[in-house]
């Protein structure tokens, strides 16, 4: 601190506001003329201002004298002209100003620096705006003081209050806007970083892991294909599929069943779903039957790919499981074979649905499952 005048309050505040201390000192002196507001403000700030670390080069007595004389002169002028009877005009302004100065000083140095860096630059470019605002404030204040003489004219003084408020708003708008922008920017940045972290974690946990597994099982083409398929599926779901609860809705449950059987048997199962609905008991039975059909197709049909198509209509739900494998003679199946008779046809019929199997040797197999929807 180079040379304080009284306690260095004006100087400290000026340093933080990036203004010349003289401006603030004059402001204090002027405010003191208005019912001594300046002195009170000075005292308040003195109490709240943290003492600067480091050297204290003592009081600048020359300036103390100068400001003292100036103060006395203005005081005399005020008493003579009666302007000093500012009364309630000055108080709100002074209290507000002192309050914001105290806030400013109490803010953490880092926050303050950010406020400054983001606002001061912008404000400098908008001197016109600030100038206009100041003009309005001054006009408002002067107008108010003039109106004081004719207190009866409340309407006019009210108008000047509006002018003052408008001026203040005009001055403060860029600061507030900059602050708001800053907050928004930080928020977006944080969200972006979180997303990036999520992607990185996902890639690390699944993709890199699978690539390592693929390298280690390079001698086994079937296993490599299986790994690649399951990773592809997982990544696709993550990228494109809406997050669905596989225990609650049909489409998600069909997809999950297909994925699990595909993993278990190493045969790609392509799923297409049209529409969706919540699961109920009947649909759970349908799902079990569909899963059994997928297992049969993947295990016995020797088909390169299995197609599953599920369609939800207003009255019923239909699932088709189709392979292009070797097919079989439906009549030649012994009655005790559990897969088709019990797990598929029987289960569907017990639950009020229907199953139809279409197959012939060499022509692949298609299982069609229908279930009425409970109530909709």
């Amino acid at each position: 601190m180079e040379g304080r005048v009284v306690a260095g309050v004006a100087q400290g505040a000026a340093a933080q506001l990036g203004l010349d201390p003289v401006v603030l000192r004059l402001a204090f002196v002027l405010l003191t003329m208005l019912d001594g507001v300046g002195a009170v403000a000075y005292a308040a700030l003195w109490m709240f201002t943290p003492r600067a670390q480091g050297d204290d080069r003592g009081r600048d007595w020359n300036q103390v004298g100068a400001y003292g004389v100036l103060g006395l002169a203005l005081g005399a002028f005020g008493v003579v002209t009666g302007v000093a009877a500012g009364g309630f005009v000055a108080w709100p302004v002074a209290v507000g100003g002192v309050g914001s100065l105290i806030l400013w000083q109490q803010a953490a140095p880092g926050t303050r620096r950010r406020w400054m860096s983001s606002t001061v630059d912008q404000v400098r470019q908008k001197w016109v705006r600030v100038g206009l605002g100041l003009l309005l404030v001054i006009a408002g204040a002067v107008g108010f003081l003039v109106a004081q003489g004719k207190l009866a004219d409340v309407g006019r003084s009210f108008m000047f209050t509006v002018v003052v408020v408008a001026g203040l708003a005009l001055i403060l708008a860029p600061w507030l806007a900059a602050l708001w922008n800053e907050l928004q920017r930080e928020r977006t940045e944080r969200i972006r970083q979180e997303e990036r972290a999520e992607v990185a974690a996902h890639v690390h946990d699944s993709v890199l892991h699978t690539l390592t597994l693929i390298q280690r099982s390079a001698h086994d083409p079937r296993e490599v294909t299986r790994l690649a398929r399951s990773q592809e599926r997982e990544l696709r779901n993550w990228l494109y599929q809406p997050k669905q609860d596989a225990d609650a809705t049909l489409a998600a449950a069909v997809r999950r069943a297909a994925a699990e059987e595909e993993d278990a048997h190493g045969v790609p199962i392509e799923v297409v779903c049209v529409g969706d609905c919540d699961l109920d008991d009947g649909l759970r039975a349908l799902l079990h039957a569909a899963r059994q059909a997928m297992v049969n197709a993947a295990k016995y049909a020797e088909s390169p790919v299995v197609s599953v198509y599920a369609e939800v209509e207003p009255e019923q739900v239909t699932v088709f499981v189709r392979d292009r494998g070797k097919g079989f003679d439906l009549d030649a199946i012994p009655d005790d074979r559990m897969g088709i008779r019990q797990s598929i046809v029987g289960r569907m019929e017990r639950n009020g649905g229907a199953a139809r199997v279409k197959t012939a040797p060499g022509e692949g197999t298609e299982v069609m499952l229908t279930m009425k929807r409970a109530s909709s």
């Binding site: 696709r236 990228l239 494109y240 809406p242 392509e270 297409v272 779903c273 049209v274 529409g275 790919v305 197609s307 198509y309 369609e311 088709f320 189709r322 292009r324 298609e366």
Partner: protein, 212 residues
């Protein structure tokens, strides 16, 4: 035998050479392009019959190529080929003017068939695209503005359903007791509806599917 001239547009060199190697003898690859700019230029220079178009590419992607080429009045036919099966991409590129959409895990002979079909002016629907179309046209709470364009006929629905179930055109024809040509007509008619129907539900449906 007729030879179909094909241009491959994809930003992955490995994928381009893979496709080139897989295509049947009735296909002649006349060139490759790796981004929107080279694609537009190559199409103008080489005049291919069919362009195999990747959906995601630097410089605006497949939709930008479609916009620039079809916008200039060219009659070249596009078959979209993509790893993405997101509804927005599929519907977007079909609405942009592509005559078909297949995913990149399609095998060589199926791709050859698809290219020949597109070269003949027919449409190529993957099971998933068929599913999307059924889904999009089914969610019709709002009344159709143009009944002819904004809804599917019963027959078209049946054909799409069979495609979604994994049937090839020949199998569909057999199943429905119609000719393959009729199946193709139905699919082309669906494609036309998909491209011309201006019900915004289609696009909205496609975007909403990602956000649900």
């Amino acid at each position: 035998m007729r030879i179909v001239k094909v241009l491959i547009v994809d930003d992955h060199r490995l994928f381009r050479s893979g496709v080139r190697a897989e295509l049947g003898p009735s296909i002649q690859v006349v060139g490759e392009a790796e981004d929107v700019e080279t694609a537009v230029r190559s199409i103008a220079e080489l005049q291919p019959d069919v362009v195999l178009l990747d959906v995601h590419m630097p410089g605006g992607g497949g939709q930008e190529v479609l916009r620039q080429v079809l916008g200039s009045g060219s009659q070249v036919r596009f078959l979209a080929l993509s790893v993405s099966d997101a509804a927005e991409d599929v519907i977007g590129v079909i609405r942009g003017g592509a005559r078909g959409y297949v995913t990149k895990n399609i095998n060589g002979s199926e791709l050859t068939d698809a290219i020949l079909r597109v070269a003949d002016g027919d449409a190529v629907f993957s099971p998933r695209l068929a599913g999307f179309v059924l889904d999009a046209f089914a969610s019709t709470e709002a009344p159709a503005i143009d009944p002819e364009l904004d809804s599917l006929t019963q027959r078209e629905r049946e054909v799409l359903r069979l495609i979604a179930r994994g049937y090839a055109y020949k199998e569909i024809a057999k199943e429905l007791f119609i000719s393959v040509k009729t199946v193709e007509t139905h699919v082309s008619s669906v494609l036309r509806k998909l491209q011309l129907s201006n019900r915004h539900e289609l696009s909205r449906w496609a975007t909403a599917r990602r956000l649900v």
